[in-house]
């Protein structure tokens, strides 16, 4: 069974600084998708960034970028120039191939941003 592990329950970052959120996953598949979702206090789940395993290039979306290490099964999210609005819970998610596959989430990490 595939698992997604986010070992840090909480992190804090100073406004304008950079923070990295860690995620590891376990799979025997070679092709799959990885995602980072943000859940602010409103609890609306918002897609931050996605990575396709067959692409070696790390995905980037404005201030958000990932460090995808396929061999190590690691998928970390880097937030640059942190803003107060980045404070939220962040979930790493894994989606294997196949018609009956399911999107599996880690337990999440709560990020606070200090002004």
């Amino acid at each position: 069974a595939q698992t997604v592990t986010q070992s840090q329950p909480e992190m804090s970052v100073q406004e304008a600084e950079t923070v990295t959120l860690s995620c590891t996953y376990d799979t025997s598949e070679s092709d799959y998708y990885l995602f980072w979702y943000k859940q602010p206090p409103s609890r609306q789940m918002i897609l931050v960034i996605r990575q396709e395993a067959y692409k070696q290039q790390n995905a980037t979306e404005n201030r958000f970028s990932v460090n995808f290490q396929k061999a190590a099964k690691s998928f970390s999210l880097k937030i640059s120039d942190s803003q107060l609005g980045d404070a939220a819970m962040y979930f790493c998610a894994y989606f294997p191939p196949g018609a009956n596959s399911k999107l599996t989430f880690g337990k999440g990490i709560t990020l606070s941003v200090r002004p």
């Binding site: 799959y32 998708y33 995602f35 409103s42 609890r43 609306q44 789940m45 918002i46 897609l47 996605r50 979930f91 989606f95 294997p96 191939p97 196949g98 018609a99 009956n100 596959s101 399911k102 999107l103 599996t104 989430f105 880690g106 337990k107 999440g108 709560t110």
Partner: protein
Amino acid sequence: SQTIHQWPATLVQPVGSPLSLECTVEGTSNPNLYWYRQAAGRGLQLLFYSVGIGQISSEVPQNLSASRPQDRQFILSSKKLLLSDSGFYLCAWSVQVNTEAFFGQGTRLTVV
């Protein structure tokens, strides 16, 4: 553009009462649909997903059931709620498998 509607936003129900949460998607056809539950401060647990009308896959044996009576409608139900059914329920959709899922705004269910 595609949108997802989920209601109600908040619900307080007594133990033993029935439940019906509804989710509809607009702007797309034949979406994959999902119901997740999130306990306080925890991750998301997949409850049900559907790849087509009448096709429901259950992930966790429990007091809940799901139905998909129309292409873009997904309903989560219970005949008799338990205290343990309390939580935050999220509906989501994706264009096809292995693509990102887009979420509704969620329903906070409190069983008293």
